[in-house]
Symmetry: C2
Subunit: 341 residues, 2 copies
Amino acid sequence: MRRITIKDLANMLNLSTSTISRALSDHPDISEATKSRVKETAEHLNYRPNLQARFFRKKHSGLIALILPEINMFYNPSLIEGVNAAIADTPYSLVIFETNNNIKQEREAIQQCIRWAVEGVMISVTIGTNKYTMAHIEELARANIECLMYDRVITNTSFPSLTIDNQLAAKKGVKILLENGHRNILGIFANPSLAITVERIKGYEQAFEEFGLVPNPDHVVNAMQVDLMNNILPVLLSSNTFTSIFSMTDELLFSTTNNLRKLNLSIPEDVSVVAISDGIFTNQFYPRITYIEDSGKRMGQAVLRQLIEYIQNPSMEKKSRHLPTEIVYADSVKRINIANQ
Amino acid sequence: MRRITIKDLANMLNLSTSTISRALSDHPDISEATKSRVKETAEHLNYRPNLQARFFRKKHSGLIALILPEINMFYNPSLIEGVNAAIADTPYSLVIFETNNNIKQEREAIQQCIRWAVEGVMISVTIGTNKYTMAHIEELARANIECLMYDRVITNTSFPSLTIDNQLAAKKGVKILLENGHRNILGIFANPSLAITVERIKGYEQAFEEFGLVPNPDHVVNAMQVDLMNNILPVLLSSNTFTSIFSMTDELLFSTTNNLRKLNLSIPEDVSVVAISDGIFTNQFYPRITYIEDSGKRMGQAVLRQLIEYIQNPSMEKKSRHLPTEIVYADSVKRINIANQ
DNA sequence: ACCATTCCCGCAAACGTTTGCGTAAATATT
DNA sequence: AATATTTACGCAAACGTTTGCGGGAATGGT
């Protein structure tokens, strides 16, 4: 019950291994007659090429790596779905590394990538990874492995990236609230050492400025963990007169909704809510939440396609790009009278 | 800038490739002196073994596959986390296939596994996969690839499986409600063509029987999609006098909470709720939901360890096992007076 | 009938690593 | 001091596939 090889086929058909190999890959040197003979018996004997051997010989692995900080409830599941959908009609296979937001595990993952000779890496970095701690990522370039950053990226590097326009997305979201009369807008953001957070805060501020208003720094809060949220939010919401909340992510939005319920505050009657969201949670939640779409699935597909383009076309110019974002209006924003605040 | 190989090391140190290979793997035939000499220069020259070549020669791939129907918000993310955590201190790498609940994609994934010569497969099957449509899974056995089913399994096959005791878990959950005086318990279940659903329904019924009661078949509902839930639940909850809900999964629980809010019903004041849950959603949600723990992370670790045991010990007896479950009491169950119904 | 071309296929090397076997030198045993 | 054992390394084959090159046979052209 050994696995059947090209040699076996060659022996059975009285042909050489080279003929078998070429016949199976439709080489023009082989006659149609033998091609069909070979393919038939290969099919019949259930022959499966040994990819280890093939890629070893051809000097590439057929592997693409996805490195991400964590697989939590939001965004990443649909990102993986998107990558999987897009890789399905390519000859590549996907290997996923989860770094648990730990730069040490990120280094380890990249070592694995080099050892496996993956042909490309898509990476969303950990909190600790920045311009000064990215030596391990630069090692990919030295190993001649394409690398494309997405979502959580490091700005101003030689590596290309694919993100939404974070500043614009946040601005759009906050503007919805401003347009509906809200002025006391609590901005809930993630870890400020991530570039993505910095840019979304900028967008929050810019929205105010475009309305001729001065954003209040006290209204911007960085909630790095859920526990923190549970401590901060009740205090903020009871001591202040916020009429609305802008949440930077689904994760923070979920925590927000739970805390609002705990405080017996309803959306949108008591507090209006807008978020940057993948769309799954916001659409299923009641009431449906108005959001700026940052679709993980679409991002996953785009990142993979871009990376494969780089792999198959190594000399092409690589530059960072933005995916467009759209507003999805729903039922979480109440129009209020500006004078009432 | 070519990648450095064993041959390069051999040339530089005036040794043979075999000596280099053995030195790097601490073979006793090599003297400590040369071992350290080899290792040092290997380190210095940043030598990375070519895993393609190694595994090709050794006739194994170092790959383990995880095949799952979908990566949604619940359970699967933590399952992947568990698998990843457990695989970290093994020499294996993980490849993930998402089948989108499509048996055709499941077949395709298994073909990929065979082509890659993965050494083991962990699989949670699609809705369409059953005893009569599992020819593709049996092909794994013929290809000499270990296969371990988990979560969504096919019962009564020759393949081992790892699950919680689904019937017992459901029984435990429903019993909590019965013990607190509830008799009108709406049971929300997933697709009835999955074995996991059938068993959890059995548990629901058994709980009633152990209380000397007859379960009402009309109180068991199969909500196969979220849309269905949104149609069914409002009707059921308004036309009947349910005092409590048992949800088979986190996904259905999430949909349940949204529908309850839409109907202006509070947990636990108006409706008590118990679910089988991974624990993440139920713990973060307000109010915290009482649940029977079915931890994806723990399952992921257990499945991977079990599979590796099978791989490294092919002759060992393989039998299906259950992971124990525990009740986590929280704030979603109100004690009511039985007479009040 | 002779040469040129085209068509099909085989030979053999190569990819980087591991490993069974052989052996010279060093050490131990008697 | 002769023999037996151990130590430390090299030789060469092997894993399954692809591919450059070479060549015999068939076909085409004159």
